[in-house]
Subunit: 504 residues, 2 copies
């Protein structure tokens, strides 16, 4: 099997081409299987070779679809989180936290077709557990468990989906969600519009101002299906076809409805006349005058709700950001009213497009957990931070950025001053000054000063034997390289004063 | 089987007593098995009854050994994190983050006997994954993977252990670790002592000043076993017996060594003459004069290291906090030098005692991940925050505490002012003021003012139809109930001024 003249990697590449070609040609399954097994054999061989080379070690990587955050990425992430949290607090939210895994039953039946993407934990005896798929279902479980009838809460946390990762586009298997939800009885649409206001405030504060928040309403979708004569049992299936309109042309979606899901082609065409439309309150008014659609009570209720939504959106200054998109469906089972999805527009194509936030109203989810089926109406929105971070990291790729906050570096000009450096560090730590020194017993002065410049540390204290005997130390302003002599006993006070002044 | 006169719960309790009694009496296995099966049958029956009562719903709870953090607990947690992070930054650390799960192979063989406590993910096709057991091993994997030879990093994150939870004592299956590690070549003991300084700074800043940091050195333990004639193959097994001395008396530990692990009783007695000793640098000096112990090169190296440790600990102002405890062993496989464990002393017995931080030097861990087995010497410490939080939550149980930061509440004195409230909120959000209003269209004034008082919101704006027509609003200082009339157009400016002044 092995081709002595070529590397295993090249052979794998060639064999991969063969398989791809056969698949593209829709060749016979036997032929494809045969060539795939050759490919797998080559890969296994490569694996063995690698193992031998690395002394039996496995491939050094993070799990598929996950990544580390290095210190620079952490600075960018923390800055983004700070802005997001500031917005949530500006709207009066408090925060809570839930475990990363839940009883499997908590998640079961909440995510429709996407349930297959849930990570389960191995059965090691005891309870059956799954990693959380979002923060919404655990939040609803929290409300029911603690009998909380009303709360405005935010939560930042990682969630887990066994999806196909596309990490350059910010699609991961482990990723952050930043959620803001308003739970409890309210008058119609007031909190629903505030959620959109929160999204736009956050995207603006992150300088992602070119975005649009698409909205739709579950009752309009249901009413539309009803008015077009779709049997109620097929609502969810047809809805999930409609959901694909953001990626596929109408012809493909129509074919799925008729060929795969057996919908009467005439009914599919009727649906097509609605779901391709988008607009603002003008579209709402048009549809309210559409006698066919308005034969459905559900549709009328949904349209009236959106009419109010646009009125409030104007008062909250976000109307220009909102687009009523009749094809917006969102897969999750638990939405009952308005649904949102924020997308970036006019972005660099390299960064990819797509949803950057989403949410909606889910009035019945908490009741699923409550022993007495007590409902707590909820509406909320979830910001997906990974795609935002990809954009921010890309923007700041050439920016010099500090990842440590050290204010003072204690350096020695000669040997045998380790203990004196230690004493000064102790003194400065005691008064809360961010202080570092070299971990070498006798470091070279040049190396120490280089560290200060590379790390952007503003001040260096330089000690020498004769100066210490005179009771003085040198204080160096790193950027200007200006040095001054300071009395050892006044060092702490001088530094406190220098550091309270703005750093230049 | 069922006893009609008693509730299932009572029957379970009684049957449980029977089983416990039989076990205590060391009754025959058949008899015990019989009674246990009765107990299980009762429990199954109870489960069914419960299911019926709850309309087929499962028990509403978080996974065993995990908990939610409510908003109040989040405030306490965040305050603690802020102090911990401030200390890490004061010592010049940057931060990073790693995924919550790793390839199973990354964790394999790193935790000795504790490896059985690792949570595995279910095999759903693809890679075999495990939840991280600590932050140290992923950190070492990060260093090797990114070829980082030198870094000072902190990381806060949740880790997972399938241990027996004791949640009232702060022992969970999901819990936070706050890690500080110094990686890279250094001169001896300088970073090792700084880690202890970091622990004491943090515990002091959290007002947990009554603590002691126990230290020992792997080379002293190994040297001691060598000097006492323990075969090298038994070092780890005997070490793990020694580790139990914090919970068990010497007699029990000795019995485990001789009866279970087959150690010569005479050798066990020799070990006992060392491991029960503790002290400071005076003990180090005594042991350096102990010819038997010093027959081991390893022991001498370890003792010399601790001598230096105490010298530096004095300079860093932490010597009084340190206790050299020869029984401190710590279970993890990867330590190679100094080991630490911080324990609270003189605490309220309700809060439980035990380790609150731990760590040590692990010079060979990174090499396990590096394809060329390149070593990166590391030392670090891990603060366990759960027990600390239990203490802080307990202390502040009667403290009134704000969980939201809202500064201004926009209230209406009459009906039909929803849109005017919305406009004012928008105006205040636009200039960054934390603002809330009622989600009711026509809320009662009294209820709105009550919300302000309950939530500790400092300012309320009260609008009325006639005032709006006059171009004024009322600004109410909530605590004093003092009200003043303000021009509507100057509202934003007045509030900005009020809010920049300290809130009283």
């Amino acid at each position: 099997m092995a081709d002595a003249g070529k590397s295993i990697a090249d052979q794998i590449k060639e064999q991969g081409e063969i398989v791809r070609k056969l698949k593209a040609e829709k060749a016979g399954i036997d032929k494809i299987t045969e060539e795939v097994s050759k490919l797998l054999a080559l890969k296994a061989q490569q694996g063995t070779d690698k193992d031998e080379k690395a002394g039996g070690k496995f491939v050094l990587k993070t799990a598929k679809g996950t990544r580390d955050f290095n210190p620079r990425q952490m600075v960018i992430r923390q800055q983004a989180f700070d802005k997001i949290i500031a917005c949530f607090k500006r709207h009066g939210a408090e925060t809570l936290d839930t475990p990363v895994f839940e009883l499997k039953e908590v998640l079961t039946g909440k995510y429709g077709e996407d349930s297959k993407l849930i990570y389960d934990l191995a059965d090691q005896g005891g309870e059956l557990l799954s990693l959380r798929y979002d923060l919404t279902v655990p939040f609803a479980r929290f409300l029911a468990m603690n009998k909380v009838g009303s709360i405005k809460r935010y939560q930042l946390g990682k969630v887990y989906r066994r999806d196909n990762p596309a990490m350059t586009k910010g699609r991961f298997r482990e990723f952050f969600q930043c959620d803001f939800d308003i739970a409890g009885p309210t008058d119609p649409m007031i909190p629903d519009v505030e959620c959109v206001r929160v999204v736009t405030e956050i995207l603006d504060s992150l300088d992602l101002s070119e975005h649009v928040v698409k909205i739709n309403h579950r009752k309009i979708l249901d009413g539309l299906f009803e008015a077009c004569g779709v049997p109620e049992t097929q609502f969810r299936a047809i809805c999930s076809s409609v959901d694909k309109l953001d990626k596929s042309p109408w012809e493909d979606v129509r074919r799925e409805m008729t060929d795969e899901k057996g919908l009467d082609p005439e009914k599919a065409d009727q649906i097509g006349q609605y779901v391709l439309r988008s607009g603002q309150d003008d579209l709402v008014e048009q549809l309210l005058a559409d006698t066919k659609l308005c034969s459905s009570k559900s549709a009328v209720e949904g349209l009236e709700a959106l009419k109010l939504f646009f009125r409030y959106a104007e008062l909250y200054g976000v109307k220009k950001r909102v687009k009523f998109d009749m094809s917006l469906a969102r897969g999750l089972d638990y939405y009952t009213g308005i649904i949102y999805e924020a997308v970036l527009t006019n972005q660099n194509p390299e960064e990819g497009v797509g949803s950057i936030a989403g949410g909606g109203r889910y009035d019945n989810l908490v009741a699923l957990f409550d022993p007495k089926a007590k409902a707590v109406p909820c509406v909320g929105v979830s910001i997906g931070i990974e795609r935002i971070l990809a954009i921010l990291e890309n923007r700041e790729v050439n920016l010099k950025m500090r990842t440590v906050e050290t204010q003072v570096y204690v350096a020695a000009a000669q040997k045998n001053l380790l203990e004196d450096r230690m004493k000064i560090c102790t003194e400065l730590w005691d008064i809360g000054i961010k202080t570092e020194m070299s971990y070498k017993a006798n470091p070279k002065l040049l190396g120490q000063l280089q560290t200060c410049e590379e790390q952007g540390i503003p001040w260096a204290i330089i000690i020498g034997q004769s100066e210490l005997e005179k009771g003085v130390v040198k204080l160096r302003h790193v950027v200007s390289r200006h040095e001054e002599e300071i009395e050892r006993t006044k060092l702490a006070d001088v530094l406190k004063e220098k550091l309270s002044a703005p750093v230049f």
